[in-house]
Point group: C2
Chain length 561, copies 2
Amino acid sequence: MSKIIRVNMNSLSVTAEEVPQEYRCLGGRGLTSTIISREVLANCHPLGAENKVVIAPGLLTGTKAPCSGRMSIGAKSPLTGGIKESNVGGTAGQALARLGIKALVIEGKPEEGQQYLLEIGENRVRLQEARDLQGKTNYEVGEYLTARYGKGAAYISIGPGGEKQLSVASVAVGDLEGRPTRHAGRGGMGAVLGSKGIKAIVITRQGQSLKPANEAKFNEVVKSFAGELADGKKALTNYGTAVLVNAINKVGALPVNNFRYGTLEEAEKISGETLAQNCAERRGKTGHGCHRGCVIRCSNIYHDANGNYITAALEYETIVLLGSNCGLTDLDRIAQLDYMCDNYGLDTMETGAALAVAMEAGVLEFGDFKGMQRLIGEMVQGTLLGKLLGQGAYVTGKVLNVDRIPAVKGQSLSAYDPRGLKGTGVTYATSPMGADHTAGNCLPGRTGLDDRIAEGQIAASREIQVLSTICDNLGLCIFVGPVKGNLETMTKLFNYMTGNDYSPQKLMELGESIIKKEVAFNEKAGISKYQNNLPEFFRTEELHSGLVFDVDEEELAAIFA
Amino acid sequence: MSKIIRVNMNSLSVTAEEVPQEYRCLGGRGLTSTIISREVLANCHPLGAENKVVIAPGLLTGTKAPCSGRMSIGAKSPLTGGIKESNVGGTAGQALARLGIKALVIEGKPEEGQQYLLEIGENRVRLQEARDLQGKTNYEVGEYLTARYGKGAAYISIGPGGEKQLSVASVAVGDLEGRPTRHAGRGGMGAVLGSKGIKAIVITRQGQSLKPANEAKFNEVVKSFAGELADGKKALTNYGTAVLVNAINKVGALPVNNFRYGTLEEAEKISGETLAQNCAERRGKTGHGCHRGCVIRCSNIYHDANGNYITAALEYETIVLLGSNCGLTDLDRIAQLDYMCDNYGLDTMETGAALAVAMEAGVLEFGDFKGMQRLIGEMVQGTLLGKLLGQGAYVTGKVLNVDRIPAVKGQSLSAYDPRGLKGTGVTYATSPMGADHTAGNCLPGRTGLDDRIAEGQIAASREIQVLSTICDNLGLCIFVGPVKGNLETMTKLFNYMTGNDYSPQKLMELGESIIKKEVAFNEKAGISKYQNNLPEFFRTEELHSGLVFDVDEEELAAIFA
C-alpha cells in the first residue's frame, strides 16, 4: 500500500498516513504543490517551522516507463518567496516509490544546530542524530552513506550550502555510481531542508517495481515509447544536453557575460561535441543514465586530460551559466566549478548567474576562473561576499547596484536568452516558479513559431508549461519532450497506471490545475500576476541581432487568469 | 500663476507647464502620487531613466496656515519597489510654493557620473554642472550654497548616500539656519534623485505668501487654529518629539535591541525631558521651528557638554532606531550618529534598523557606538558591508540570514512596537508606503481604543491613514494631529484656499482616493494586498507583556479593497 510519511522535526517523530483518495492522480510536482498549497501558510518564513519540505516521486516513478525516475522536491522558496518545485533524477525517486512512499513531508524545526539523518527501510523510517555529518560535503556524505549502507542504497543530501541555508542551496541525489551529481537545484530547496536539520535521507532498500492498474497495456506503451525515445534522442545520448550549446548559439540566444551578448565565437570549445570528444578520449563517458530505465541517457562522466574524474552530469545550463555567461570558455575549468557546486550543494545556475552579476559590478573580471573558485569557496566559508552571492543573482545585483539583473521573482534566468527565444522568455516571466526553463522550455523549433517574434508566444509557452507540469506529475523526464505529440502517450501511461480513463484534454486540465494552485499560493504570498515580467533591460537593450523582448505585458500578466 | 516645472535629465532641458484643472485640489502627496501613477511605469527600474522624482509643496504650503510648510518628495522607491511619498519640513517647500511652483518633475537620466545643481529663481530655472559638489556631504553642500546664494536661499540636496544610490538614502532640506537637518528620509528618495544626477536644488528667492481664494475667512481659521495648536502641543514644543520616549516606553511599545523588548529601564536617559534639560544647560534649543509659521516648534538644536553643536532636529524615531533599538542609551552619542546620517544623507530610521539587524546577526554587539560609527562610515565609503546596510534592514537581514527582520514591503518599521500599538501595526502592515508611522500613527490614546487589543484597529488605522493623507495633501505637518477632531478645520482651510465647497466627508474621500491610487500603482508593480502583513515573529514572539500582533490577516489584506 502506498503511503505518505510525515517527519516532524519538532517532536522528532515519524508517522505514516494513508494516501487520500483525492491524491490518486497526483505525483511529483502535482503532489508537492498540492500538499504545500493546503498545508503551508503562504506568508510564512521560508526557513521557519511553518514551512514544509515535500519530496514526492512522480506517478510513474518506480515503474518500467522509460525516463520515469524523476522526483520533485517542493517547499515555499527562500529565493522566490513563492511556491517551488525542483525536479531531480538520480536513484532516490525510484527507491522511494518502490517502497510505496508517495510523499515524504518534513515539517517543524528542531533545536538550532541539530542535524539528522533520516533512514528509510522496507518497514521502518527513523531519525538519527548525525552530528558526525555536520559540515560534510555532498561527496563526503555520499561516501559515508555508501560505506555504511552499501552500494544499493539511494540517498538525498545537502552540502554546506544547505546547512548554511543559502538561498542558492541545492538538494543532491545520488546517481547510479553513488555520486551526488543529480541536483534539485532551483529555489533553495537545500536551504529549507537545512532549516529542518535534515542533512541526509538514505533509502536502504530498493523495493519492487510498481504494478500499474493495467499492466499489460501499460507495458505495451512502455515498449513502443522506449523505442521511440531511444531512436529519437540520439543527439542527447551522444553529446549530452551540451548539444544545445551550438544550437542555441546558432539562434543567437546563448547568454554571454551576464546576458550582454547572445552569441559566442568560441562556442565550439564548450560544445557537446567537444564534451563528447573529451569523454571519449579521456576514459569518461557520455550516454550515461541518471537512473535505471532511462533510454535517453543524456548524462556524462567527465574526466580531465589525465583521465581522472572531475565531475559527472555536466549539463548545458551549467556550461552556460558558470561558463559563457561568466566569460569562461574552458570546459575543463567549467567542469571543476560544477564539481565544487555539486560538492558544496549549490545550484550551478543561480551561482553562475550571481557570479556574472558580481562580475558586471566589477567584483571580478569576466572569465576569472581562479576568482570564481575563490568566491564559490567563500559562499560556504560564509564571508560576507559569499553570503551575498549565496542569496542569488537578484539580491547580489541589488546590493552591488547593478542595473542588469537577469532574474524574475527573485530567481535567475537560466541558459537561454529570452530575446532570442521568446517562448522561453514567456515561461521565465510567467511561471509561478520564477525564471525556470524546466517549467516550459520553448526550444528552437519546438513550438512551430518563429522564436524571435512575439506573436503567439504566450499561447505556446502556456501549452508547454502545462505539458511540462504533466511530465513533472508523472515523473517523466522533460527530455521525453513536453510537447503535444507526446500527450497521447502520456495519457495512456497515466490511465493504465492509475486505472483512470482520462482524455488527453482532461490530463491537460489536470496539469493546468496544478499550475493554478501554485499561482494561487503565490498570490497569497504576495507575488501577483504583475510580477509576470522580465527585467527592464531585456526590453530596452538589443542583442546584436537587434532583438529585444517585446511580449505584451498585459498578456503576460493574464496568462493564467 | 502656478505651474509645473519639468526637468528633463536626458536633454538637460527645463520646461514650465500650466497646472491641469484636475490637479487643483491636489498638493504634496496627493500630487506626487497622482503624477507618478499617471506618468511612471509601475514596473520600471527605480533607478532607471523611466522613473521620475516629483517634488510638491502641500496645497497650503506657502500660506499663513500654521505648520503648513511641508513638502512631499515622491517616486517609485528602490527600497520598497512601490510608490513612495516622503514628507519633509524645512524651508524649501514654502520657497517653491511662493514662486508658484506646484510641482517639480525630474525625469530621464543624464550620462553616468554627471552631477547637476538645479537653480530656481523668480523667473528662471536652470541646470548647472556641479562637478565641484561631487562627493560633498550635505553640510558641505549647505555651506557652499549659503555662501553662494545667501542665507535667504532654500535648498534640497543629497549626500554621498544619494550619490551612491543607496536604498536608504534621504533627501535633505535646509532648515531656518541653513543646515541640512530636515530629511525626506524614507524609501530611498535620495537614491532616485542621485540616479537623476541632481546633487542639489537651490531656490534663490522666497517669493510672496500665497493668496487663498477666500482670504478673510482663511485668515480667521488660521488664527484660531494657530492658537489652538500653540496651546495644545506644549509638550512637543518643550520636549520635542522625544517626549514620546517615556510615553511609548510606559505602554511597552518602545523598540529595544531589534524589537526584542518593548520597554527600556534606562528610558529616562534618552527621554525628551533629558533632551530638553541638555538643550537648556548647553546653550542648545528646544521649541525650534523647522519652517516659518510653525507654532508647534517640536525641533531642537542639540549641543554637547561643552556647548558645541552636535546636530539639530534630533527626533524620537532617530533616538529609538539609532538608540534603544541598537542597545545605545547615550543621547549625546545618538546625536552624533544623527549628525552622521544627516551629513551623509541616510535615513536615520532605516539605517538604525539595518544596524540592529546586523547586530542580531552578530556583526556588532548591541550598543557598540564606535562600531556603529564605523559602519555608517562604511555605507558611504562603499565597502561591501556598507553597501549591504545601505540596502536597508530587509536585505541586510536576508543576506545575514536573520529570522527577525522588522520590515514590511522592504521598509523597516519605525519606532513603535506593533504588538503594543496595534493600530500603528495595522498602518505598518497596510500602508502602500511600506512600514511607515507617518502614514497613520495610532499613538496611545489617539483612537479611543485599547491599543493592545486587535479589535477595531483596522478601522481606526484606516481612518488615521486617510486623515494623514489629507495632511500630506495640504502640506500640514502631521503633528497638528491626523484626527477626526481636526477634519472640520482642515476642510475649511481646504475650501477657503481653493474656493471649493467640500464637505468633510468629501475631503475624506479625496484622501482615500489618493491612497487608492497608490495601492493601484503598487499592484501593477507586483505588490499585492497579501503583502499587507507583518513579519511572522511579531505574531509568534511575545513581548514581556505577553502581547503579540494578532490582527486578522484577511482583514489586513482587505483594508483598502
